[in-house]
Subunit: 305 residues, 2 copies
């Protein structure tokens, strides 16, 4: 189906791809809310989707290989990924996606909320494959675009934890998490060692991994949300000596993100720093890369050629 894009967000993966990560050439953009306007080859869209507001999954799987049939479609070896791998993304007036990737956006969510469905799904996924108990102490490292969303997700379950601390570099960004109910600390003031049951690493830098390995308790869990372009010079001996469980975490479940937005448990709109029109996309990218800027949105309505 062909979608008319309404709004798209810029994330750090987009910025890294623009610098050469993944070797992608094509249209960027994988956080979007859009409207179904066309079927294949100019045909009418399926009647139950026509005109609806949607957000597409970013992984487009073959649906036939062992990974797909075993429920790991996000890891299909021949997948394309919207705006990341072998498929044009949504920083455009229109974008073509498989019908199977669509999720309807409930009327109760505005476009500003809906554009966060994809990154919020990834943020919530940080807590999958992790058994948290009421006494557990959780540390979030990183107050960037993804780190702040994970922080809001962490704040939503604050009451079920022994401690929930976010450590970052920017007082103004940490203030958003403090307002949501997290304990916060500046990186320069933080030196706790070996005491956190769960550490979520979302700094986007190899130094964050070293800090995370120091902060996690023996036999604790470290969730990695950062991808680094290139090799990291990190001493991994503590993983073995302290028997740490390191879990890589990427994309998440869209319906759960939609539900968290709908029931009001998470409101990501305070993260919006600035808006641009699609014609200003290059300026939007430059702005999104500036320190202190959180989420930059690109509005594609009214820019049809």
């Amino acid at each position: 189906v062909v979608l008319a894009v309404r709004r798209a967000g810029i994330c750090n993966t987009d910025l890294e791809i623009a610098r050469g990560y993944m070797g992608f050439q094509g249209v960027l953009g994988h956080e979007l809310v859009a409207q179904v306007v066309e079927g294949p080859a100019g045909s009418a869209p399926p009647a139950d989707w026509a005109g609806r507001r949607v957000t597409p999954e970013i992984n487009c799987a073959c649906r036939g290989c062992p990974a797909c049939t075993q429920g790991r479609g996000n890891h299909c070896p021949t997948r394309t990924v919207l705006g990341i791998l072998g498929r044009d993304g949504g920083l455009a007036e229109r974008v073509a996606v498989p019908l199977s990737t669509l999720h309807a956006v409930p009327d109760s969510l505005d476009d500003d909320q809906a554009v966060f469905i994809e990154p919020l799904a990834a943020a919530l996924h940080a807590f999958d494959d992790v058994d948290l108990t009421r006494k557990d102490r959780v540390l979030l490292l990183g107050d960037g675009k993804l780190g702040l969303l994970i922080g809001l997700a962490l704040a939503a379950r604050r009451g079920q934890l022994g401690q929930a601390l976010a450590v970052g570099r920017h007082p103004d960004k940490l203030a958003i998490l403090a307002a949501a109910g997290l304990e916060v600390a500046l990186e320069t003031d933080f030196d706790e060692r070996g005491s956190f049951d769960l550490v979520i690493e979302a700094t986007g830098s190899p130094q964050g991994l070293t800090t995370a390995l120091e902060a996690v308790r023996p036999q604790g869990t470290l969730v990695l949300k950062s991808t680094y372009a290139g090799a990291a010079d990190v001493d991994l001996a503590p993983v073995v000596i302290n028997e740490v469980r390191v879990v890589g975490s990427r994309c998440g479940d869209f319906p759960r993100a939609i539900a968290a937005l709908e029931n009001g448990h998470i409101d990501p709109r305070p993260l919006i720093s600035e808006r641009f029109s699609l014609n200003e996309a290059e300026r939007a990218f430059a702005r999104a890369a500036e320190p202190g800027v959180i989420k930059v949105l690109v509005d594609a309505t009214g820019t049809e050629p």
Copy 2:
């Protein structure tokens, strides 16, 4: 209690410590079988232990801190570790250890078997925190001292797995694993990617980690048994992109290792390369570091001063 050492093994950790790892100064040796001969300050040993053949746990925990009371004594922050950290080890005529660390060696096990209890416990621990099913494909990387023991442990559960493959550098060492029932392959012939449910990395080199990350399937498990002295220059982006679960694994459960030796499921004696007397300990270390040599044993009986 004071133990009269009968036999001790040399492992790669000993060799690394001799090169400066851990900054340990003292008597090496943490794989041993010994006899209880004395209590504290020259007193008689407890009657139920006097004269018994034993092997001691290597971690000597405080038994009072949160880690200890929560069942993680192996990770007690003030622990000493036999021959590794703050406590003289068993490459000696006699060694003093806490009574609480002793495990009785059954009469049915000879000294050659009993000296493997500690490293076999560590090898078996590679399969803890891992749920294996009948269809699972398991890859072991490394045919060194620990790798071969893990290989024997893997062979013992071969019938419960879809595939069990060991990849190494030495045809003669891999032959031991083939005889035990594993599929084997030389590293130079191996290039499978993204297909193993569980990969156990026991090569002792950073290159092994890179190979392991290539071989494990998305959302699969990678068990790290190697410690490297110093930082490793490894690209960790695949951990996140493929959502791999990396589990560090160190010491294991002694009673389970004793049971596996007793019931004959695992016989490590084919791994014994050579024997030295305690007076020849330096030669034993030089030999243990030579390529192709597996387990070097040091006999301490008959060397009382």
